[in-house]
Each structure stands twice: as structure tokens, then as C-alpha cells.
Amino acid sequence: MSQGTVSIVIIDDEVDHAIIIRRVLVDVAPYAAVDVMTDPRKVEERLAEAPIHALLLMDRLLAGRQSIELIPALLCARPDLSIALLSAALSEEDRDRALATGALAAVEKPATLDGWRVLLRDLLGLHRARSVA
């Protein structure tokens, strides 16, 4: 997969966070096509139409619901997707559970812009490696 074809979907009902992540992605991956979803009610429907080999950056809690529970069904329907679970606070149990369900990564949201830049570069690298494999 070349840099020019990477698609990223941000799924976060905290609109401010979604906007900030998209802003940082402009610096980190200017070549990426970025879509933002902030309405958690139609996540499953809309993700069925996500671009092929897209990287999903998904908040752990969507409208109070644990989005970890969505991962197995999403990956069953769309095994080409990579899902990175992001959370303001993540327990070890939730991290392990997310990875066990097939998430690419499960991480706490950084508190600094530089932290976000490092994280997003890392996730893109992991996504690229998985897509090539």
C-alpha cells in the first residue's frame, strides 16, 4: 500500500477530540483521506461502507457503550479494516480485551500534540505493516 492511498476514519462522539485528531493528521499524514464520524448511532452501518483497508481510530466509549464489543462483528464483516481503540483512560483489562478481539492497538489518548503526532505515526506504521502482510 502506498502512502497516497491510506484512508482513516475517526469515530468519536466527543466532537472536540475528533476535530483535534483530524487537525493533527493534517501534519502527520497529509496524504491521507480522513473521514470523521461523531454520531455513534449509525457506526456499524456506516463502517460497512468504509474504504477498503481503512484505519479506524475508534473511541472506547461511544454514547456510553463499550465500542470494544463492536470490534469482532466489524472485523468479521470487514477483515480488511484495522481498528485502533483510543480512550481517555484505559485499564489493562480493556487493553487486553481489545487486542484479543483483533484490534490493531488499544491506547490512551495523549495529553499533548506531540504525543498525538508520535501515536498517529506509530499507528500508521502498524497499519501499513499489517496491510502489507
Partner: protein
């Protein structure tokens, strides 16, 4: 509708679970607006880079510095709450282990005969983490005495502990502002983990005492 009212006082276990869930929710739910504030402040600073107003003593620069400092303080305190929450959830692996195995290369000062045969019933991980936290990697001199049912270990802190006596968890609860992000937070987390398998911990100035339950049938 049922004729009997719901229980006014939930069972203790349920209350504990609710408090635990509440503690985790607080550390999560307060962090997301904090992230919005701190990241927005950084974005403003970056967008105003190279303008005199955002630098040094300009009022925007002062305000952004204050916002950053406040956000960092809140982040530190929320992390302490998350640390306490995680300590309560951490999986335990309690087993009978030779005390000597827990102590690694540290020197044991003791009148106890057959220290090598002494078994304690603990989860080894937090005990080792406590010793590492207090002693670092270099060998230290630990004092061992036996009490009824316990091996009492007195561990000298290599790095200076803040002035506190008794329980690090209580000290942390008294002042998150002072102790969050310090060795007291680390000790409080370990105290919670150790208490879950009946290991008591107490600080007396620069020495930490730990009561490790002896395994049944262990050497006396």
C-alpha cells in the same frame, strides 16, 4: 410493581464494585474535557507561533502558560486516581514462595534460623515492586523478624521519602495535589495490591515495614 421495596443498603461487595466503577469513571470522564482544554491551548499556541503576543510576558502567552500548568496538574492528579483504580483491579497470583526468592540480591539482617526455608504466602510481583521502588537496584540491608503468623520485613528507603508516617494511601487521599505523581502514589498503589492478600504496610520515617503472611508449615 413488587410489594417489597428494594434494599436500601446494597451488599458490601456491590458497594465496593460501584465505588470501583465510580473511581474509574471519574478518572476517565474528567480526563476527556481536560484533553480538550490542554490540546486546544497547544493548538492556539502553535497557531500564534512567532507572534509577540503569544511569547514571554504577553497576556496571551501568560494565559496559555497558566492553562498548560493547570492542565498538567489535573492530568497528574487524574493519573493518580487511575493508578489507584488499576491497583484495585490488578489480577493477583498468591502462592507460597521462599522469602529469599523475593529478596533477590539484598542482604538480610536477622536472628531467624533457616531464613532460606522460610515460606510466605503472597503475590510476589507487588512485593518485588515495593522492594525495587524503595531500594533501587543496588543491594540494601533488610531487617527480618518473625511475629505470630508473619515475617516482618523492614526496608530502608534509599531515596528520601517525603515526611509521612503510616499509610501512603491515606496520605495520597489527604492531598492529591501534593502527592500525585510522586513516590507516595507508587507506594499507595502497592499498598492497595498488597492489602488484597493481607500484607500490611506501614511507613515510619525512612523505613517501610511490611508484614508478609507466613505459609502454613513454614520454618519457625
Amino acid at each position: 410493581m413488587t410489594s417489597s421495596p428494594p434494599s436500601v443498603t446494597p451488599a458490601l461487595e456491590t458497594t465496593e464494585e460501584i465505588l470501583e466503577a465510580f473511581l474509574f469513571s471519574v478518572s476517565h470522564d474528567l480526563r476527556f474535557p481536560l484533553l480538550t482544554l490542554s490540546l486546544s491551548g497547544e493548538l492556539i499556541r502553535e497557531s500564534m507561533r512567532d507572534t509577540p503576543e503569544a511569547a514571554g510576558s504577553g497576556s496571551t502567552g501568560v494565559a496559555l502558560d497558566a492553562l498548560k500548568q493547570g492542565a498538567e496538574d489535573l492530568e497528574r492528579m487524574l493519573k493518580a486516581l487511575a493508578t489507584v483504580s488499576r491497583a484495585r483491579r490488578r489480577q493477583q497470583d498468591v502462592k507460597n514462595v521462599p522469602l529469599r526468592m523475593l529478596l533477590g540480591g539484598h542482604v538480610v539482617l536477622s536472628d531467624v534460623a533457616d531464613v532460606d526455608k522460610l515460606l510466605v504466602s503472597v503475590d510476589p510481583t507487588p512485593v518485588r515492586e515495593l522492594i525495587d521502588c524503595l531500594c533501587g537496584e543496588d543491594p540494601a540491608e533488610l531487617q527480618l523478624t518473625l511475629t505470630d503468623g508473619h515475617a516482618l520485613l523492614r526496608i530502608p528507603a534509599r531515596a528520601a521519602l517525603p515526611e509521612l508516617d503510616g499509610s501512603p494511601l491515606i496520605e495520597l487521599a489527604r492531598s492529591l495535589t501534593v502527592h500525585a505523581g510522586t513516590v507516595v502514589e507508587e507506594l499507595a498503589s502497592l499498598q492497595i495490591q498488597l492489602a488484597r492478600h493481607a500484607v500490611a504496610l506501614e511507613i515510619d520515617q525512612q523505613t517501610v515495614s511490611v508484614w508478609l503472611p507466613r505459609a502454613a508449615g513454614s520454618a519457625r
